[in-house]
Subunit: 378 residues, 2 copies
Amino acid sequence: MIPFNKPYLTGKETLYIEDAVKSGKISGNGKYTKLCQDYFQSRYNFKKCLLTTSCTDALEMCAILLNIEPGDEVIIPSYTFVSTALAFVRQGAKIVFADSRADHPGIDENKIEELITNKTKLIIPVHYAGVACDMDKIMAIAGKYNLFVVEDAAQAIDSFYTGADGVKRALGSIGHLSAFSFHETKNIISGEGGMLCINDERFVKRSEIIWEKGTNRAEFFRGEVNKYGWVDTGSSFLPSEIIAAFLWAQIENLDDIQKKRKEIWEQYYNLLKPAELSNNFKLSEIPDYATNNAHMNYLVCNTLEYRADLINRLKSEGILAVFHYLALHKSEFYKEKHDGRELPECDRYADCLLRLPMYYELSKAEMEQIVSVIFEIK
Amino acid sequence: MIPFNKPYLTGKETLYIEDAVKSGKISGNGKYTKLCQDYFQSRYNFKKCLLTTSCTDALEMCAILLNIEPGDEVIIPSYTFVSTALAFVRQGAKIVFADSRADHPGIDENKIEELITNKTKLIIPVHYAGVACDMDKIMAIAGKYNLFVVEDAAQAIDSFYTGADGVKRALGSIGHLSAFSFHETKNIISGEGGMLCINDERFVKRSEIIWEKGTNRAEFFRGEVNKYGWVDTGSSFLPSEIIAAFLWAQIENLDDIQKKRKEIWEQYYNLLKPAELSNNFKLSEIPDYATNNAHMNYLVCNTLEYRADLINRLKSEGILAVFHYLALHKSEFYKEKHDGRELPECDRYADCLLRLPMYYELSKAEMEQIVSVIFEIK
């Protein structure tokens, strides 16, 4: 059996969890939370990071920080995970779905401007497979119309974008706010888990309050106020130190994990490249301005039928390959609220994109086995 | 140093976490989540349980399940944690604060009815210190006015209520819905963590959907639908299997933990009882219809000054005793929205209640040390 994903344990996770427990502090915002946050801030040049219980929760914090209200419009690619939309729907937003690029499942930057109205409040580019959207274009549109940008960087840890100024910036550090995921399928993991990153100073102070159930508890513990109380809306967005301790063990091995994943990705790609000649599918491509964080290895099949056939053939060999998102604009929950525009590229990725097994411990032999099945289908 | 709280580790937490990791499944809704949920359902006669990342999140699920909308009124004691109110404020509810009982910080059941209007949607009794509110009275009022009841059972695991029918029911199993906390300060813990319990069949199916980001993923994995998609609102309310594995180790030792805590609580109480003669404070009392789950040991001081003095005297001996809630109706966030009614009992508990150190590993010698300081103040 070759699973689609296999969580990788670096070896120190339970050691750090025990350390957290022994310190007498396993609720949120303790030593390991601070270690993780400081690390990300410093390594990726985020102004402020806050660990959250999920990427969904980080996106909800964005919706609260941006004061999203009923009637506000949010531009989101339809080919994305439910949470990208849901977090803003909970605040009452109307979702305006954009199509994907022809060459990549990410939002089509050239089709954003036509969706903007005087109700539009923000744009959410999703860095699909950890590959950057064209952030220069998106930030320019946002600047022109005075919109906010929230990067959905769920899959984009340790990935970068190089803009026209030649500066290589970490994904998640470019928009006003961004959200990461540490779900077990990601490069570094904590089971469930996420992170909000704040790059705009205006949101820093309030973010801590919203994170801690609308209280000024963080200020209190820093001695900035005499007592702490209920001062704002919010929720319990912070994860346990158990989760942060687990994540810290992963972070300590981030360079090793990334090196290994990139090696696997390259080998895989080179094995798959000749099979592309069958014209049954296309491999993913990385634009010049983007890096590859080796999060995902996917094919875009030519037809839904070929994909179904391939999934079944792989499955019969004990190999689990899986499709990805359904089009949100066609979902049971949102189809009546969608304005009816066709989003053909989104539909194509929903029908034809296939993700192959991809994880730290995937061996060369396993890759060869997977690729050999793909070669068998003419 | 005697801390206020010390998380207790049963010894198997990291073992089960390792097992979860080795199984290749550390995201939510896996083996340990099911073990925990099944255990609680069966032991306490809840219709359905769902672990959550916090008690706040469980309360938010209640607000969503009950379709709370702007304008809806929710009756809550003012002497409670921010989350009791906040989870419903996020859905747009207006909070109507009730006062506490003279003999207990829980909601004054006799003052609820006068707060009901045609906008009132639900009542939230908070079982303070794990001691039951008078649920017969509350359920009767709810029945009379067709209101929902959500039990805030954050502190109330393994505590019971015996009504007029003579049946002893677990707290959390009486209202339509209830919410528990496994925060590190609770009897059994997972750092941060919580649980939603559903006792009304009408909410069972939708609860799973809301829990899993508004998707029918649970039905999909049970083979009830062909594919899963976005069908409702919701969020990522489910915790990692890392958290559930930790909690499972605690659950396995629940009887031992409860036995030990009750012993400590009794010893403590007996040591403190003679000091009550000073007339500086009163010990807590357990009504006949309620059990004591030994969650908390608190004093209600006669004056704010005595409490401040006692906190300082204990602190100078290295003992951490802490006050509890501030009155929510006087909070910066809600005071302008509150209708101006005075809530004198709530104010008194905010000013005068003091929680003494209380945890599994608290020794007799430490208790004696704490009590001796209390005896010194005349």
